[in-house]
Assembly symmetry: C2
Homo-oligomer: 341 residues x 2
Amino acid sequence: MKKLYLKDIAKNLNVSKTAVSLVLNNKGDENKISKETQERIIAYVKKYNYVPNQLARGLSRGKSETIGLIIPNISDTFYAQIAGFVEARAMEMGYTVVFSSSYEKPEKESKLIQSMLNRQVDGLIISSTQKNEKDILRLQENDFPFVLIDRHYPNLDTNYVIVDNFGGIYHATKHLLDLGRKKIGFVTIKSDLDAMQQRLLGYIKALDDHGVEQDGRFVSELDQKTYVTDMAEMIRAITTPEKRVDALLFSTHYLAREGLRALNELNIQIPDEVAIASFSEMSAFDLVNPPITAVIQPVQKIGDLAVDILVDEMKGDHMIKTKDKRIVLDTNFKIRKSCGA
Amino acid sequence: MKKLYLKDIAKNLNVSKTAVSLVLNNKGDENKISKETQERIIAYVKKYNYVPNQLARGLSRGKSETIGLIIPNISDTFYAQIAGFVEARAMEMGYTVVFSSSYEKPEKESKLIQSMLNRQVDGLIISSTQKNEKDILRLQENDFPFVLIDRHYPNLDTNYVIVDNFGGIYHATKHLLDLGRKKIGFVTIKSDLDAMQQRLLGYIKALDDHGVEQDGRFVSELDQKTYVTDMAEMIRAITTPEKRVDALLFSTHYLAREGLRALNELNIQIPDEVAIASFSEMSAFDLVNPPITAVIQPVQKIGDLAVDILVDEMKGDHMIKTKDKRIVLDTNFKIRKSCGA
DNA sequence: TCATTTAACTAAACCGGTTTAGTTATTGTT
DNA sequence: AACAATAACTAAACCGGTTTAGTTAAATGA
């Protein structure tokens, strides 16, 4: 079973490569290939199950029908889910997805973008480290189609699909306040990410709006690399009688996971002694002890919209910007036992 | 900033495309390009940051430096983790990964394989639906490099990296028996997958070896599509006084998750009334109530080895089979509270 | 009836690299 | 001095498609 090429088909049917190529690309009619010839070609192709070499096709058409997906970490449930939806939607649209994890390293992200461009992806979906303005700017200057997801550059004028981080946390904070919690701690990751800043700001704004004074506030920023080990100590520190919090809000699902673990180990009763809630969740938050109240991100929408916008951008006339391409999605709020509602 | 091509470099340096190409591919010396010319070329390329078009490169060399990964579902933590390790390892080796989820549909899997072949991937890593012998056989007949992971075809002579499903469950079952549990139920998915069969067999063998009679056994096979809703009813049925089990072993992590949920809802005390354990885990199994004892799969090893074997296969002289390319990895057993140890 | 369209098709250039098969000038050998 | 060997390089073919710019023969128009 040796491989069948366009020229073989042409030879065997006594037509030109051109004819075969045109017919296979649905350009037979407009190029006046007769109905019979078209049928002969299609029949032959079907019979011998011919499929064109995508590299050759891509090379000559200047596009690869491939989109690149760059995310911080495919092993993280949040990104894995997004990847799943991106891939499914892309496939519907006829695109293949190549992906890579940047592990939050700007240099890695930069290399990945370069490498994907070499591989002639037609467009990029990037959840950026947000420390790589240089590459993002370059993409934009070159009118290369791309969409940022989950994280965007607030001072750059790009397409993006993000969630309302501020609003999500504001809602969660308000909920805790409404339940009578007065001393709400906010546990987050040391990070310049705008998304993280917004979550912090949402927390602060909610406290301000409810007139909570300085001593009712406690913000703890853990290091991305050491948060697992730091968590227990931090929790111990803020649950001492002097500066005891009565609620903790975690800015990410993995912080909530470790926070819960630490609280359980210290035998602190949730929600009685300390109520907790999390921004973003993972698949077992409804099964942990106690189930964790969480701000839910619309992962499917993020994935679907990112692809839709990108596809539009890739085909579209670059002059006509039809769709709105800056999207801030609302979050949901899932109340469970951990917040004591 | 318009794109720089090989021919531009050649023109600007007054050398041939050949010279540039050879030097960039580290074939300068063997082709007797003088040291100075080599340096000139390298300096120029570095200065202007030239990188070759991978489609053109792939087309002319007949390889794309890309590997395809086909898994049941990228959103599943298990496969997401494997994908992460596969991608990382592949990148180390200079390969890009394209992936797609088959959602357990053989036809989808078949299409994906075809599509990836069209895209000229150099090799495939497949976690097959195991209902697609036809395509796997064809790959093999054509000497196309591929490695099966997680699931293999027992009657086909292919490369694979799987885990010892039988042994893993045997160990877990024995552990429950040793803890004095006499009526152990086995909850699994209706499936022809050999992996699933092996898990069932491991359970049976362990019972046999310990002389557990027929009424100490209970196997429940749930439907892949409806297990979430069926679980509660099933659990209720086997916890009636007449045929009450004192332990439940779940053949997958998602079954364990739903089983735990159902048991909690029915207010059945774990492990006092019913002990539970799971084959494979998810990231919060140590935080759920109670933490779940689980057979742990070596995800990193699966990913790493799959890539190693595939790369070997892709470069390697097909005549010389150096490495062992059928690998059955041992599982670990993580004891937590749910089994009552 | 002769010029013009049109229908049906194709040769050849092209995409941007790699590779084969040379070429030319210099050095080495006898 | 004559010839082979070698160093340093390049023209052109090639990968497998797409696309442009034609060609040819029949149909139409004035």
